[in-house]
Point group: C2
Chain length 335, copies 2
């Protein structure tokens, strides 16, 4: 046993059920674990709200269980570790979220999540469940080139969609408008990740990849998917100087733009390091004439104990700023 | 260079200043970095509020910079990494927090912090600054036996004091009452920590202690101070079964009591593990007839990338529950 797989669990096969039970007990004022094993709001909205559902593999906590609550998601269908939930589960989730105004199934773009969600929508149609739509979300610029955005992976920058779509759906009542809002936020968002050390599987204890002690990898996915290249470990400022131009050029973010900034902690990076990184982000934004409206630095979508981070920017207008500032009460996102 | 000291910083000697600059830039809507280099509220309260000041060594982020804001602290005097700020700095902090209703200097009990705060209070007296009090806070049951509580270290359970004293001081206007409230919360709080892997010094890169791959240490301090003993790595449930009776017996927490629960992440423990730990905490509380009013699981006082946690309980009455539920807007504590 190496330090890498030194984890406080019981039986690996019980991780999901025990985690959900503990989470629901800890935050009983916000959520509950329903009869299907889904995390749902303690107090569901009244009829007429567009339901927001997301399924995801577990192991990325607080995503997505920590983002269920007022101003955020209605229902989270958590799959096994790093495994998308099956179509039957997503159909159950749609039913649990239905308040008579339609349901939007949000999909973080990975092959398994997309396939299962597509099958779930076919099952809904076959069962006569109407007014269900799907939106596929992606943000990672390292996973496909510009012009092929829809092939990109969903990573931590989807946080912006969760927050602002959640606020929008709280009052919209219109499924098509919710889907269009999710797409607007997605299309304004770009992310790039960097890893210093790998995470490990909580089931097998195996590390996700090997990385020499003096190297970093740029462009990792949230399950340790290959990035775009390795580099020697460089300073915090040099790291941001490497990443920022790639993100700015991709949208592109331009002088006069206002943005939200997220530095997502993959696991074991310290906040101390994240603040030092942000300092350079702020300098680079200023140099580019881009204004940071608000910023969040913390662990929102993790990859176990991986040390690393993702830097995400989302271009905002007055509509999005108001959605950002709207109240939210998830266990791990409060506004 | 080992994986342990792979950190994204620039020059080690600039960690503190760059971290504070980045933090203040990221959360410019909540705080600002003042002319002394202190993190203070962006919008100070009007005259008549008791000022709350805390000094601390850095390297434990988000403590304490992330707990400055409405409903929390007024001024944080951050020292160098793991080094308490000197008395002159604390006197400056007192002046920065003074709104004409007195200032309470909060001290997390460690030799250096206490000595510097005591000297600061003498300097205040010598300078004719009146109405300044100090409260010494401690919670770690492993650092001195029952009956010698005032010799114990301050650790993550002080979180309860920060939150509820902050709420109380928002409206109290009475320095003696604020000090008494801090003491009441402290005297209702007990904590015990456990480490799986050490953290490292961000300055030297050296690990704080050595721990075999199959062992855990119970009762660590927040700088890696020695605990009460080592044990083989055991399951999550067995870990809580080991720790919980020690905490319950110490106050003691008894059948019929209501408590707040904190599981503080030392650094690289996953939320997945924390939820599994909490499940057993909830079972143990139920067996003891103790009700968890609210719980928080997350990183509030960290020890760099140490993997481990502290479990803290605070006995609450109606007064404390209302203070817990009162609004707070720190960068890393929102209610």
């Amino acid at each position: 046993m190496t330090a890498r797989n030194k984890k406080l669990i019981n039986q690996p096969e019980n991780i999901l059920s025990e985690m959900l039970e503990g989470f629901a007990a800890a935050y009983h004022d916000i959520v509950k674990l329903d009869e299907n094993g889904f995390i749902v709001r303690r107090t569901p909205k009244a009829e007429g709200k567009v339901g927001l559902v997301i399924g995801n593999g577990s192991g990325h906590e607080p995503a997505m269980i920590g983002l269920v609550g007022p101003g955020l998601f209605d229902v989270n269908v958590a799959g096994e570790i790093f495994t998308a939930p099956g179509p039957d589960r997503i159909v159950q989730g749609v039913k649990a979220a239905d308040r008579g105004a339609g349901v939007l199934v949000c999909v973080s773009h990975h092959a398994g999540d997309l396939m299962n969600a597509e099958m779930a929508l076919e099952l809904c149609e076959a069962e006569g469940i109407e007014n269900v739509e799907m939106v596929v979300l992606y943000d990672d610029i390292s996973s496909a080139p510009k012009g092929r955005e829809s092939e990109r992976r969903g990573t931590a920058g989807l946080f912006f969609v969760w927050k602002m779509l959640g606020a929008f759906a709280e009052t919209s009542g219109d499924l098509a408008a919710c889907k269009a809002m999710a797409e607007k936020i997605r299309d304004n968002t770009r992310s790039l990740a960097l890893a210093l050390t790998p995470g490990s599987s909580p089931i097998s204890g195996e590390v996700m990849f090997e990385l020499p002690d003096d190297e970093i990898e740029v462009g990792m996915g949230v399950h340790g998917e290959m990035g775009t290249g390795r580099s020697k470990l460089i300073s915090a400022d040099a790291t941001i100087d490497l990443m920022m131009p790639l993100i700015l050029e991709d949208l592109p973010f331009q002088s006069g733009d206002e943005v939200l900034v997220l530095i997502n902690n993959s696991g074991s990076l310290t906040l101390m390091e994240m603040f030092i990184l942000y300092r350079r982000v702020a300098q680079q934004l200023e140099a580019a004439g881009v204004t940071a409206y608000k910023s969040w630095l913390g662990p929102y979508a993790t990859t176990q104990e991986m040390s690393g981070f993702a830097l995400s920017l989302c271009k905002v207008d007055d509509e999005l700023k108001a959605l950002w500032d709207a109240p939210a009460n998830g266990a791990y996102l409060k506004q």
